[in-house]
Amino acid sequence: MSQATTAYTEELVSVAGTDLQILKAGSGQPLIVFHDEMGQHTWLRYQQALSEHFEVLIPSHPGYGKSPRLDWIMTMRDMTGWYLQAFDELGIREANVVGFSLGGWLAATIASMCPHHFKKMVLVGAAGIKPPEGEIFDMFMETASEYIKLTVADPLAVEEFSTVCPPTPSPELAEAWEVAREQSVRLSWRPYMHDPALPHLLRRASGIPTLVVWGDQDRIVPLSAGRAYKEAIPGSELAVIQGSGHRPEIEAPDEFLSTVLGFLKDG
C-alpha cells in the first residue's frame, strides 16, 4: 500500500466567533470528517481515498489542533451548538459526515438536534451512548501513546500505525495530544464519554441514512454501543469489521473504504 500523498490544504477560517482549522482535499459533494478525542494530526490513506470522491473537510474542533479553545464549551451539546452556528455561517447543509469515536458522538448529537445539516452519516466506533454491555475504556488512565496503542487490535499489523503514533513523537505532536486530551476532559469527563439523553434524542435523526461501523475487536467503545446506535437511529445499518479494533479506517482500510464509499455513493 502506498503512502498517502499530501494533497490537501490547511486553512484557518474565521467563523462563529473564533478561528477554525480546516483541512480540505478533493472536490465534489462535501464530506465532513469529525476527528476523535486525540485530534487530527496526520494525513492518512483513507482520507486521501475519500478525497478522490468528495470534497473532504476536516475541521479541528474548538480546543483541538490550531482551533483555539472556547472556555464556555463544557459539554458535547455546547460543542454542538457552536458547530450549528459554524454550519450556518459556512452555508453547510446536507453534507455527508463521518465521525470517529468522540467525533462520532459529535456527529450524532448534531444529527439529533438539526438533522437537515447531514445528507448521510457514518459513525465509526462512536462514543456518546453508554454501552449496554461493557464499558467505554477510560482514556485518561493511560498516557497518550499507550491509549493510541489500545485503539487498534494489533499495532504491529497496522501499516499506518507509526504515522498515527510514532515510537518517538515529536514535541509538537506530544503537545498536540495533550491539548486534545485536555479538551476531551472538558467534553467527556462525566458522564464519561456519553450523554444519557442521546439515545432518546436520536429518534430525530431517523431521516438521515446512517451507517454505523464497528470493529468487532474494539477495546475502546464496545460493539454493544454500536448495536445501541443502530437501535437508537431508526433505519440505520451496522457494519461490523471482523478483526478490527477501534480504528478500522487504518486497521482494515480497504474494507473500511469499500463499506463507507459503497454507503455514501449509493443513490
Binding site: 485518561f140 488512565m141 498516557t143 486530551r181 485536555e182 476531551s184 476532559v185 472538558r186 469527563w189 462525566r190
Partner: protein
C-alpha cells in the same frame, strides 16, 4: 517559629504482602481494597489520634493532617473527621489541614459548615489549608482535571465570602451555584480561620498564595529548588508591595529523633518501607504516569524549580536509597545532638517561619513515633525555638504574613520595627 508534627497515617498491614521492603510493587490506583482489614484500620486511626494527642502535650504548635484518596499510604480520606476529633481531644496545638482538596467539592457549602464547626469546637485552633490534589484524587472523586484550578479558585472565593459576609446571599459562579447561602454556623476566628497553601510543583499555586498573602508550605522538596521557589514568592510579594518573610513560608521534611543513633537509623529506614508512598521516595510505590499528568491538571509550562526534584523524589520509579536521602537532607534522623545541627542547616538554607517534622511514617511503629515525640519535646523543640530566635525566623503567629507587622501577644498588630 511555628513547629508542627505530621504523619501521613499509612495503612500498615504487614500481612498484606505489599508492606515493607519485600513488598509487592504497587502502581497508583491499581490496588483493590479487597485486602482492607477493618481491625487494622480501627487500630491505626486510634493510634494516629493518640500520637497527635501526645504531640499536642509535647508542645508542638501544629498537628498537620493531609488528605489522599483510594491509596494505602494515607488514611486521611475524610480529613475533616480526624480534624473534628482532634478539635475536641487536644488542648493547645493548631489543627493544620494541608489540606482539604478544594476542587473535589461539588458542594463547598459543606466545607464552609464543617470547617466552621471544627474551628468552634477547637475554640479557634483551626488552620484550614487548601490543596489542589493529584490525579489520583481527581479520578477517585471524578472531578475533571481541566477544571481543577478554576474550581480551586472559585471554591476559595466562595468559602471566604460565606465566612465573612452575612447571609443570605446568592452565588452564581461558573462551577458553583447557590440560591441561598446562609449557614447557621460561623467560624470562631475573625475575619476567618487563616488559610495556608502547601505545594510542590505548580507556579500558579505559589503565585496565587503570594497574591493572597497566604503562607506557602513546600512539601518534602529538595532544598535548593525549594529555596529558589521561596525566592519567587518573596519577589512576587515585593512586586505586590508587601514585605514577606519567614512568616510566609514553610517547609515539611522527614525528621525522626531517637535515643541512640542505631535506634534512629533502624526507625528512619522504615520511612522507605511503608505501604507504597510515592512521596517517601524509596519504597515500593510506582507512579502511574497517566495519573501524574492528567490533562489540564496543572500548567505544563508554569512549573517551579522543584518540579524535577518532585518528579524524581515522588516518582518511586527512580527511588532514592536511604543513604542518599540522609545525605541530601531529605531524611534527617539521629539523636537530638546530631539532628539539631542538620535542622539548623535547613533553617539557614530556607529561612522558613513554619516547619513540620514528618515522622512516624512508612513502616514506623507507634513506639518509635512516641520515642521521637518525647525527645522532640525534651530536646528538639526548645532548641529549635532558640535557633529560630537567633536566626530571626518568626512564624505567622508572630509576624502577620499579610503585612509583615509584628503581632503582640494578645494578637494585636504593632508597627514593624
Amino acid at each position: 517559629m511555628f513547629i508542627g508534627h505530621f504523619t501521613e497515617r499509612p495503612y500498615q498491614d504487614p500481612k498484606s504482602g505489599y508492606f515493607g521492603a519485600t513488598g509487592l510493587p504497587i502502581k497508583d490506583l491499581t490496588l483493590s481494597n479487597e485486602i482492607y482489614d477493618p481491625e487494622v484500620g480501627a487500630d491505626l486511626y486510634n493510634r494516629y489520634l493518640d500520637e497527635n494527642i501526645y504531640a499536642d502535650e509535647c508542645g508542638f504548635d501544629g498537628l498537620m493532617l493531609n488528605e489522599h484518596h483510594s491509596t494505602p499510604f494515607c488514611m486521611g480520606g475524610a480529613t475533616n473527621v480526624e480534624a473534628a476529633i482532634l478539635a475536641r481531644i487536644t488542648k493547645n496545638a493548631k489543627i493544620v489541614l494541608l489540606g482539604n482538596i478544594l476542587p473535589l467539592w461539588d458542594d463547598p457549602l459543606w466545607l464552609v459548615e464543617q470547617l466552621a464547626m471544627i474551628d468552634l469546637i477547637s475554640h479557634g485552633r483551626l488552620i484550614p489549608g487548601w490543596v489542589r490534589g493529584t490525579g489520583r484524587e481527581m479520578v477517585s472523586h471524578n472531578i475533571p482535571p481541566a477544571y481543577n484550578w478554576e474550581r480551586f479558585q472559585e471554591a476559595h472565593e466562595f468559602i471566604v465570602k460565606a465566612w465573612t459576609t452575612s447571609g443570605p446571599f446568592r452565588w452564581e459562579g461558573k462551577h458553583y451555584h447557590y440560591r441561598y447561602v446562609n449557614p447557621w454556623v460561623k467560624p470562631y476566628q475573625k475575619p476567618h480561620p487563616p488559610i495556608w497553601l502547601p505545594g510542590v510543583v505548580s507556579r500558579d499555586s505559589l503565585m496565587w498564595a503570594a497574591e493572597k498573602r497566604i503562607p506557602y508550605i513546600m512539601l518534602a522538596t529538595k532544598l535548593d529548588p525549594t529555596r529558589q521557589a521561596f525566592q519567587l514568592y518573596h519577589e512576587r510579594a515585593a512586586e505586590l508591595g508587601y514585605k514577606s518573610g519567614p512568616q510566609n513560608i514553610g517547609y515539611l521534611w522527614k525528621v525522626h529523633v531517637d535515643e541512640t543513633e542505631e535506634l534512629a537509623e533502624e526507625a528512619a529506614r522504615k520511612y522507605v518501607q511503608g505501604p507504597s508512598n510515592p512521596f517517601l521516595a524509596g519504597n515500593e510505590g510506582t507512579t502511574n504516569l497517566a495519573l501524574a499528568s492528567l490533562p489540564g491538571m496543572t500548567s505544563r509550562r508554569r512549573v517551579l524549580p522543584t518540579r524535577h526534584a518532585a518528579t524524581k523524589y515522588r516518582g518511586g520509579v527512580e527511588s532514592i536509597p536511604y543513604e542518599e536521602q540522609i545525605e541530601n537532607y531529605s531524611i534527617t534522623a539521629g539523636t537530638p545532638k546530631t539532628v539539631l545541627p542538620k535542622i539548623r542547616y535547613v533553617l539557614e538554607t530556607l529561612r522558613p517561619g513554619i516547619i513540620f517534622f514528618w515522622d512516624g511514617d512508612g513502616a514506623m511503629t507507634h513506639e518509635e513515633q512516641m520515642r521521637s515525640l518525647r525527645l522532640m519535646k525534651e530536646e528538639v523543640i526548645p532548641a529549635v525555638r532558640e535557633m529560630a530566635a537567633e536566626l530571626d525566623l518568626p512564624g505567622p503567629d508572630e509576624v502577620d504574613p499579610a503585612t509583615g507587622e509584628k503581632i503582640k501577644a494578645n494578637g494585636a498588630l504593632v508597627a514593624a520595627s
